[in-house]
């Protein structure tokens, strides 16, 4: 069948073209702006290397902070002298936690969350246990790594 | 009388200065004389405000009286820019 009139008038066609083109152009202009204002996200490190000397000396049943990326990490020495490392950030709303030696618990002051020595969330709002890392000592260095990450130490 | 009042305030604030001296960062000027000046200024500030409010009240009453007498038009020739 041959149409006697086009189903789209010239005016409609131009209007659609204009609007569509305009939106596309606008989007193309806004894209770099959006890209710019959204930050580059750094990933959390897979491992950090610390000086073993500084951390092995700490008394039993105490903690010492170390930087885990931009976050707080804690080296924790239990009563029996074993060394552990954990992320010192509450799993509830990311407040920094602290260790209460008398109660042998980790404590988050933000909403009164408690974790036991193994990081299990025992009371308060925290939904998950604390994240513990693997600790290894290799010629004077203390290597703290995420569980299940194989650390290749750069030589030199 | 008024001197006595100021003196009482002075003593009170000296006392309170000593009380909050534990602040790590001094949040107000610390010298007692400065404190005294500040608190005294505060009192004058209030006196000025209350007086100003009173004057505005009087002006308001006056306007209302004129409006009640039907003198609304009174402002007719007064251009608003002056």
């Amino acid at each position: 069948m041959k149409l006697r009139w086009p189903s789209v008038t010239r005016r409609e066609f131009l209007n659609t073209l204009f609007t569509g083109w305009f939106i596309a152009f606008f989007a193309a202009c806004i894209y770099p702006l959006l890209k710019f204002i959204y930050p580059n996200l750094e990933k959390e490190p897979d491992f950090v290397i610390l000086n073993a000397k500084d951390f092995l000396e700490i008394p039993n049943n105490s903690t010492k902070p170390f930087p885990w990326g931009g976050k707080l990490g804690l080296i924790f020495k239990k009563d029996d002298g074993t060394i552990h490392a954990l992320k010192g950030v509450c799993t509830h709303m990311e407040c920094n936690i602290m260790y209460k030696p008398e109660e042998r618990k980790f404590y988050c002051p933000c909403h009164k969350g408690y974790f036991d020595q193994d990081g299990k969330n025992i009371s308060g709002p925290p939904p998950r246990p604390l994240e513990f890392f693997e600790v290894r000592i290799e010629n004077e260095k203390l290597i703290v790594s995420k569980k299940g990450v194989k650390v290749e130490i750069p030589k030199g | 009388m008024i001197h006595l009042l100021f003196f009482a305030i002075f003593i009170f604030f000296i006392f309170s200065t000593c009380l909050c001296a534990k602040d790590e960062v001094p949040l107000l000027p610390e010298r007692p004389i400065d404190r005294y000046i500040i608190y005294e200024c505060l009192i004058f500030f209030w006196i000025f405000i209350l007086a100003l409010i009173m004057v505005i009240r009087m002006k308001l009453k006056e306007t209302e009286r004129l409006q009640q007498m039907g003198f609304d038009e009174e402002e007719e020739d007064v251009p608003f820019i002056d």
């Binding site: 204002i37 959204y38 930050p39 580059n40 996200l41 750094e42 959390e44 902070p65 930087p67 990326g69 931009g70 976050k71 707080l72 010192g88 509830h92 709303m93 990311e94 407040c95 920094n96 936690i97 602290m98 988050c108 002051p109 933000c110 909403h111 969330n121 709002p125 925290p126 939904p127 | 602040d23 790590e24 960062v25 001094p26 949040l27 107000l28 000027p29 500040i38 608190y39 505060l42 500030f45 209030w46 405000i49 100003l52 409010i53 505005i56 009240r57 002006k59 308001l60 306007t63 209302e64 409006q67 609304d72 251009p79 608003f80 820019i81 002056d82």
Partner: protein, 354 residues
């Protein structure tokens, strides 16, 4: 006379009759609830004070994570009247947000949002949201431990909004965590982006009020009300209220200067008993009610989703409340209004006492 010449110059170019007519035509209805009419003007005045003190403080403040805290301390301790202006800015913000909440809830309860004033409600509610964000961003600029923890919790909470949460959080923080980047960002929000939006919205809001005139409560609509000219009667009353509030503001600022904590340190444990600013209590308390986990879902996500929904509904109330728009009594929405208000008041109260 000089002045006459200036006057002539203006009159030759601008039609003063029209403006004068507008001013003369502006009447305000007078009735039992007229006190609520003054809240908007008061908010405007307080915004003005915030802008003024903010300009002054911005001349000296530097948003650098190492120095920000020191600069605030310097403003307070070393500059002439620095202690006064910081205190005024702080307390001005508190009072302003209080007035805004009052303004908002009175509008809600008197149903002044009904047709044709929907846009007024929307601009107003957005302004309230912006003001709260103003508060949060300004709070961080002090860069002390409390502010740091509070912002960490608040932005973390925004991260629990479903779908967009993670992006929003990263956008607000300028990274994965609250750092110096966040400080720079919040500074930009606080001194340039938000003031700009505020100016636009306030102008729109005020223009709309001029256009629609002031709303009369539904139950008074049929009655014959006395009308009072805005200029000068109501303006005089406005002035009196402003002066009084200014006095109160200065007094509080002098007697209770806000404290400055220790410089924020991302590796330090969170200080004991941190609380957000009071206008976050209602959110903070809501979050507290939810357990960590509900049927395997994070309780926080559920709470934050509910809050988001409640906020969206709040914004859209004029469109749901058809009855009031037709000028009928609407029981349901009276209850909705009462619920929101009571919830806010109770939660804020709980926040203060716990």
């Amino acid at each position: 006379m000089r002045f006459q010449r200036v006057k002539k110059w203006v009159l030759e170019r601008y039609d003063s009759e029209a403006l004068r007519g507008l001013i003369k035509k502006k009447y305000v209805p007078s009735h039992k609830y007229e006190i609520f009419y003054y809240m908007g003007g008061l908010a405007l005045f307080l915004f003005f004070i915030q802008f003024l003190t903010g300009f002054a403080l911005a001349l000296y403040y530097v948003p650098h994570p190492e120095q920000a805290n020191k600069y605030v301390v310097d403003i307070v301790t070393k500059l002439n009247f620095g202690w006064l202006f910081r205190s005024l800015h702080h307390w001005g913000a508190q009072i302003l947000i209080g007035v805004l909440f009052f303004h908002c809830f009175s509008t809600l309860l008197l149903k002044s949002y009904r047709k044709p004033r929907e846009l007024l409600w929307i601009t107003g509610t957005i302004l309230l949201g912006i003001s709260i964000f103003f508060g949060l961003s300004g709070y961080l600029l002090v860069w002390d431990e409390r502010a740091f923890a509070a912002v960490r919790v608040a932005t973390g909470g925004a991260g629990s909004i479903p779908i967009i949460g993670q992006y929003l959080k990263a956008f607000l923080r300028g990274g994965n965590d609250v750092t110096g980047e966040t400080l720079a960002r919040f500074y930009a929000f606080h001194v340039s982006i938000l003031p700009f939006l505020t100016m636009i919205l306030i102008s729109l809001h005020v223009l709309l009020v001029q256009y629609h005139g002031l709303s009369v409560p539904l139950f008074l609509e049929g009655e014959k009300l006395r009308k009072v000219p805005f200029f000068p009667n109501v303006l005089y009353k406005d002035f009196m209220i402003w002066l009084f509030v200014l006095g109160v503001l200065v007094t509080i600022s002098v007697l209770a200067p806000p404290e400055i904590g220790k410089k924020a340190d991302p590796y330090a444990p969170t200080p004991e008993g941190i609380k957000p600013e009071w206008y976050f209590y209602f959110l903070f308390q809501t979050l507290k009610f939810f357990p960590g986990e509900i049927f395997g879902l994070s309780g926080e996500t559920i709470a934050v989703s509910l809050i988001t929904l409640a906020a969206i509904f709040f914004l859209a109330i004029p469109f749901f409340d058809r009855k009031s728009s037709r000028g009928e009594k609407s029981r349901t929405f009276t209850w909705v209004g009462v619920c929101y208000t009571v919830y806010f008041l109770v939660m804020t109260f709980l926040g203060f006492v716990t």
